[in-house]
Structure formats: C-alpha cells, structure tokens
C-alpha cells in the first residue's frame, strides 16, 4: 500500500542558511503527526513547502500516490491540504460567515453557507454563530472560524501551526476532541507545537527537526517530555528547580489599584490587590487582553493609577516616575520585545543603556558612558548566553529567544528588588525558555520578589509559588499553586464564559 502522504529528501536553502536538509517523513490517513522543533529548526519552511507557499530546491512529495508539487496555496488547497495559521487572517468587522466566504474559491449562497457552518460546527463540537461579528469573538472562537473554514474544504491533510498557544485548557480540550474526531474519520493532521505534554497527549507519531534536519522519528507516548525536549535541543538541559524556602518580608504591595480605560489602555483595572514577599514568585495567569498590559504599565509607571497605591518595601510610589521606581528597585520587562522593551534599530549597547542607565550608572550628568554601557551589554550577553555576533548587533537582528534572554538578563543584572515580567517566554524556543525560567527562580532565591504575568499555565505552575488570575481587569485572590487544579485555573481564566456560550450555541443548532 502506498503511503497517504510522503515527504522525501526535501531541501530548501535561503541565503546563508540551509532551512531544510533532506527532510523525509510519512503519514498515514487518520494519523496525527507532530512536527517538533525549536524556533528556526525548519518547521515553518517545511510546512510552507507542503502548503505551496515556498517551493523546495530539491526532493519530492507524494499525496495519495500522486506527486505533490503545489505552485501556490490555492493548488495545495484544491488537492485537499488545509492549514490553520498561528496568526489568524480574519477581518474583525465582518461576520463569521463573511470571513469564511472570503477564503473560499466559489462560496455557496449565504443561507446555505450558514447552514454548512452550523452543521460542521455541531458535528465537530465547534459551535459558532455564523452571523456573529469576528471582532466580538474570543481568541478560541476565532480559531474555530479558521478551523471551520478549513473543514468546509473537506481536507485530507490538515496542518495546525501552534494552535494552542492562545487557548485556555478548556478550549484546548475542545480542540483536541475535534482533532481526534477528524482523525478517526481519516483526515491526517500535521500538528506543530512546542508544548511537549500536548504532543504526548494527542499525537501518534512525531518527527523532530533540528537545524533543518530530521533528528528522530518516534512515538511521543513512549518518550518523556524531557527526552523529547533533549532530542529537540540536541543537548540535555536542566529543568528549572524550585528552591523550598520560606519567604521574607513583603517587597511589593499593590493596594486596590484601579485604572479607567483610555486611548492607550483598553481594559479597566478593578481594585487589583496583591502582595509579593522576598523570595516569592507570584504568577498572574490570564488570557491576553484581560488587563495584563494595563497592570504591568501601572507597576512600571508608564500609566498612572486612578486610585489605589503601590508600595515597594513599604514606601508608597504614588505617581512617581518610572526612573525613580527603577532607583527604588522595581524593574519591569514588558511583553513586546521589539518596540517596547527594546528598539530594533538600536544596537545592544544602546539597548542595554535603555533601561540600565540609572542603576548601572551608565550616565553621569546625562553624558552617556558608552564604554561602560558596552561592558554591561557584554555582561548580559555572556551571563545569559545571548547568541549574537556581538554587542554592536542591532536588537532587530536577534532571534526572539535571544532577544528575550537579553531583555530579561538586562533587568536581572541590575539586581532588582522587585522584578515584573510580562509573558517572559512568549514565542521563545524551549532551551531559551528553560534558561529564562531558571533565571527567574534564581533571582527569587537570591532574595528578590518576582511577578510573572503569563498566558502559559505550564510555565506559571513550574515557576510560581502562588498564582492569581486576571480576568477582565479583576484579579483573583492569589493562592499557592498546590491548591489549584488545572481546571480551576482554566475556569478562572475565563473558561466559564466559554463553556456557557458553547452550551447555548449547541442548543441553538440542535
């Protein structure tokens, strides 16, 4: 019997980098196949060749025994390949049905399309109201739009690129049920992710890529997450260790801060209170857009609160400037690496100066000491293993993971009393993420207080002593990690809302 889908010796080179080097793997019908690899390992290039966005230099692909060499995505789609991208391509102002019709070759009439959307949705447990405006949907629901758009083409091979990076555990559960049902009906699914536990849970087989080559093909259930990670990175790395120590005095106290929404900040903060003690890491969980940016900005001093107060070591901050907060020891690493934490078109010396000028005494009477700033940048690069050609490199030339190590390292080396990090490992490869988490744990162990705001629950469970959940601008009472179940966290993160919606929609369509 011929293989359902086969990739043979596929190679693709870009100037200066061999993105794919004789990559081969095969899939059966109904198989859920994981594509695993660090950022830059060649996953995206491989998938883009399958989907017809990029043409291979050499090698071949066969789909159902026929040669598969799509000249563009629409050819790939007509042959039964569909892809759900990590970044959605939806128009917020249009309805679900309109968005789906836009992506179709010959869309059916509106009434029929609505029926198809409802039918496919209820069939696969993805209820959607075709007339809802996409702008009003949650991230999980938007992903459903993308998936249903794919399913309406009746795909033979469905490619999913990092689908769960934006989902709550409940939404992830719904997605997995859908994917399993699809697979049981014979659709092959190529599943790209860096979340190893998920892959072990969902996938039948895994192809592991490193530096453009296949380093292993295995059954992920038979390997531990750690073994998979080590194959992916090519070396063993230590999972972060959490020291077991009692906490000291409170270093950061947030007392009932509120922030009205404005042009810059869309979500209001409602009476947010918490305390972080010396040596403690408080994790703040929540889906993006629930007030994370607003909370972090009020802590950094970039936004001033309408009411409430923030205290560092017992001293009230009031409306003090960002610079004086830094001098007090309250440091912040914001979420956006480029354009907030760092400037792409400045080199690493200048970017080190960006937040380090005061505490590292890189300027006297306003005159920058660039030699000292260079030493500081080089220290960050060395201590945090930032892979770059040197301190003179532009921040924009670094990979996401390396720049994030630089950004976090820049704050940690300033010896903060309190460090606030927003999405510390967002879009960062596994090795860099592990290094960053370990650095945060070490920082807490050395006597600082850390606030980690993250969408990644696994991450928070791994590093935090206690977790609170931010939902629509309100923060739940922080509780020790051990006192939660994953489901509870998911429900707090906004899962309740989703489940209710799901039930209503199911009734509608029934």
């Amino acid at each position: 019997m011929t293989e359902f889908f086969e990739v043979g010796e596929l190679s693709k080179a870009y100037p200066g980098v061999q993105a794919n080097d004789r990559v081969s793997f095969s899939m059966d019908a109904g198989e859920i196949h994981a594509l695993l690899g660090e950022n830059g390992s060649g996953k995206s290039t491989l998938v883009k060749m399958i989907y017809g966005i990029v043409r291979p230099d050499s090698g071949r692909m066969t789909l159902l025994g026929q040669p598969h060499a799509p000249a563009n995505p629409s050819v790939a789609r007509s042959r039964g390949i569909a892809m759900v991208f990590q970044h959605f391509s939806l128009f917020n102002a249009l309805t679900v049905a309109e968005n789906i019709a836009l992506g179709m070759h010959r869309p059916p009439r509106a009434r029929r399309l609505d029926d198809q959307i409802r039918a496919t949705g209820s069939n696969y447990g993805l209820p959607l109201n075709p007339n809802a405006r996409v702008g009003d949907l949650s991230v999980g629901e938007r992903q459903r739009v993308e998936i249903i758009r794919c399913l309406l083409q009746d795909p033979k091979l469905l490619i999913m690129d990092e689908p769960t990076s934006v989902l709550t555990p409940q939404e992830t559960g719904i997605l997995f049920a859908t994917l399993r049902k699809l697979a049981s009906e014979g659709t092959a699914i190529l599943y790209i992710s860096h979340k190893l536990e998920e892959i072990r849970d969902l996938c039948n087989n895994a192809t592991i890529l490193r530096a453009g080559r296949v380093v292993a093909t295995c059954s992920p259930q038979e390997k531990s997450a750690r073994e998979l990670a080590e194959m992916m990175v090519g070396s063993s790395f230590s999972a972060p260790e959490r020291p077991n120590s009692a906490f000291g005095e409170p270093l950061l106290e947030v007392r009932g801060i509120s922030l009205r929404p404005g042009p810059t900040f869309g979500t209001p903060l409602k009476e947010v209170s918490f305390t972080v003690k010396r040596g403690e890491i408080l994790g703040i969980a929540g889906i993006a857009g629930n007030g994370q940016d607003e909370l972090v900005s009020t802590l950094s001093g970039e936004a001033s609160v309408d009411s409430g107060d923030i205290l560092v070591s017992g001293a009230s901050l009031g409306r003090t400037s960002l610079e004086s907060r830094r001098r007090l020891g309250l440091l912040v690493a914001p979420e956006e690496r480029i354009g907030h934490a760092a400037a792409a078109e400045m080199n690493l010396v200048e970017n080190a100066f960006l937040t380090g000028a005061d505490r590292m005494e890189l300027a006297r009477f306003g005159i920058a000491n660039w030699r000292k700033a260079r030493k500081f940048a080089e220290a960050i690069i060395e201590k945090f293993d930032v892979r770059t050609t040197g301190a003179a490199s532009y921040a924009g030339s670094l990979s996401g993971g390396n720049l994030q190590k630089f950004v976090i390292g820049r704050e940690i080396l300033q010896d903060p009393l309190v460090l606030v990090v927003n999405q510390p490992t967002w879009g960062v490869d596994a090795a860099a993420a592990a290094a960053i988490r370990q650095a945060l744990l070490d920082l807490a162990a050395s006597g600082s207080a850390v606030v980690a705001v993250s969408q990644d629950l696994d991450e928070l469970i791994e590093i935090s002593s206690s977790i609170a959940v931010l939902n629509n601008g309100s923060l739940s009472q922080p509780r020790p990690v051990a006192n939660y179940t994953r489901d509870e966290l998911g429900i707090l993160m906004g899962g309740t809302h989703d489940i209710r919606l799901t039930a209503e929609e199911s009734n509608d369509s029934a």
Binding site: E302, R326, P334, H340, M346, G366, A368
Partner: protein, 361 residues
Amino acid sequence: MIRLERRRRQSRAWALATPVLAVCATVATGMVMFALLGKDPVEAIRTIFWAPLFDPNLASYARPQILVKAAPLVLIAIGLSLGFRANIWNIGAEGQYIMGAIAGGATALALYPLDAWWIFPLMITAGIAGGVAWAMVPALLKIRFNANEILVSLMLVYVAEQLLASVSIGLLRNPDGIGFPGSRNLQHYESAANSELITGTGIHTGVIAAIAVALMVHALLRLHRLGFQIRLAGLSARSAAHSGANPKRLTAICLAAGGGLAGLAGIFELAGPAGQLTIDFNVGYGFTAIIVAFLGRLNPLGIVLAGLLMALTYIGGEMAQFMLNLPAAAIQAFQGMLLFFLLSMDFLSRFRIAFGTARIN
C-alpha cells in the same frame, strides 16, 4: 513582477546615496523643465550650480551670499531635526523665526541709541526667547489637549506674519523714517548690528553659531541621554517611555529647540543681512529649512552640507533669473523637485525593489 520588500533595517549605503541620487534626478528633470521653457538646459544648470562658486566675475559676490543664506537655514533645520527625529512635527519655524526677529529687534530698538557691549547678547537672548515662546503654544496645546502640532504651528505662522506687518507699520516703525513702513535699520546701530566678522567673506556671528550648534547637537545626539531619548522616541515611542523619557517633556523640549533656533536665526538675520523689520522681512527660510533638514537626513552635520547646497540653489537660482530670464516659479519648482526626489528615493533605504515572485521566509 516587480515588488517592494521591506528591508530588515535601513541600509546605510542607501542612506548616504539617496541625497546624491536625489540631486542627480533633480538636475535631470530640471534640465527637461528648463528645455521646455525654451532655455538652454546645460547653461541653466551651469548658472545654478557652477557659476556662484567658480565664475570669476560672480563668485566674489556669490560665495559670501551662500554663507549668509545657509546660516539661517542650517540653524532652523537643526532645531527642526530634533523634533522630526522624535516624531514631533513643527512646521511653523517660519513664524518662530519672525517672532525671534521681532522680540530681539524690539529689545534693540527699545535701547536705541544706547551704546553698550551687552546689547547684542541681550538681543540674541530675546530672539531665542521669542522663538521659544511661539513654539510653546503648539507644545502646550499638544501636551494639554493633544492638539495636532502640525496644524497649530503652521497656523501660528500666519499670525506671526500679521504681527510682523502690524509692528513694522506701527509699534516698531522708524520714527525718523518720514512715514515709510519698517523699523530703524539695525545695521546702522553699532551695538546691535550683526556685521561681517571678516570683511568680504559673509561670515557673521550667525554663521559661527550655525557651525557651533551643529557640533553641539551632534554631540547631544551621540553622547547625551536626552539625545538618546530623542532618537529612541523616533524609533519607538513606547521604548522611549520605557527608558524613562517623559513624552510631554520631550515634546516641550523638541518644540522649544526648534523655536529657539528659529528665533536665533531670525535675530541674526534682522541684525545683519536684513537690517530692518519690514512687512516682507521673512522670505521662507522656516519652510525651506524643512527641506534642508530632510536633505541632511536629520543629521546635524548632514544639515550643514544640505544648507550650503540649498543656499547654492537660491543664489544660483537668482542668477538664472536675471541672467537667463527664468521665471521665479521655475526655480521654486526646481527646489520642490529636490524634496520630492529626496523623499521618494528615501523609500529605497527602507524598501528593496525585488523582481520575481514572492518569497516568504
């Protein structure tokens, strides 16, 4: 298929090459325009670019004039460039230039005919203060009400022009001027005159000031924290805020720098080449300086070169007007082309022209 691809970062080679290319393209299109006007294009370009510098009969007059014209352009353009770098768009330097001249001139006229060494420095201070005060209007409105500084600063140019007209026929009119509009001529008031430092060279205090300001601003941008924050604000406002820059303060500083230097240029011009406040005292330096700032790539040293080039086209253009009978509008169109080509060529430093089909990586 031809496509545009965004460059990962700005190409340094292109950043240096674009002003040169823009000048070449301006010369080429200018020649076509002059030919269409029935003039000898080679002769026209020669008169604009070559005669003022090297023609044995004209150079001795033209060369000093180039410095006289370049000094205010450079001073104003450097002030504006600080704002433009930080995305603060002061378009009203012309008004700030007028207000600097009025404030400095009024100071001198109030003290006439006192003879003291401190009069000239006092005038300069008043000139700067006048420009800063005028620029603070858009600054405060932007800070307080988020009003668009482009519109406010531009509108204030017309207010300043009306004020200039008013004082030159009213408050500051020369009492000995037998009813003619215009103030006393400051060139004839020794303590207030901004005269040539070396006879026959065109070098007056304003020329020295322009060079000094260029060097100081260059150092500010390279070495000082404020300069760093201005550069950072232009690249990313959020990064600048994260580094501790107060955006309101930055707005005030950048507009003040633009206004102050425009005011400085105004008082140097009034006390020197112009001599007296008249209704037509201003000749558009404040607007031309915007072109100069961009032609110099918002870099203080580049602006010095750009100011000299622009002054050359002014002087050469004047010569072409009276020697070849070219209409003044043609010269203005020629200068406009320079900005047009510069901005369009600037695109090449940020985008790459690619041939063939899209490649996504």
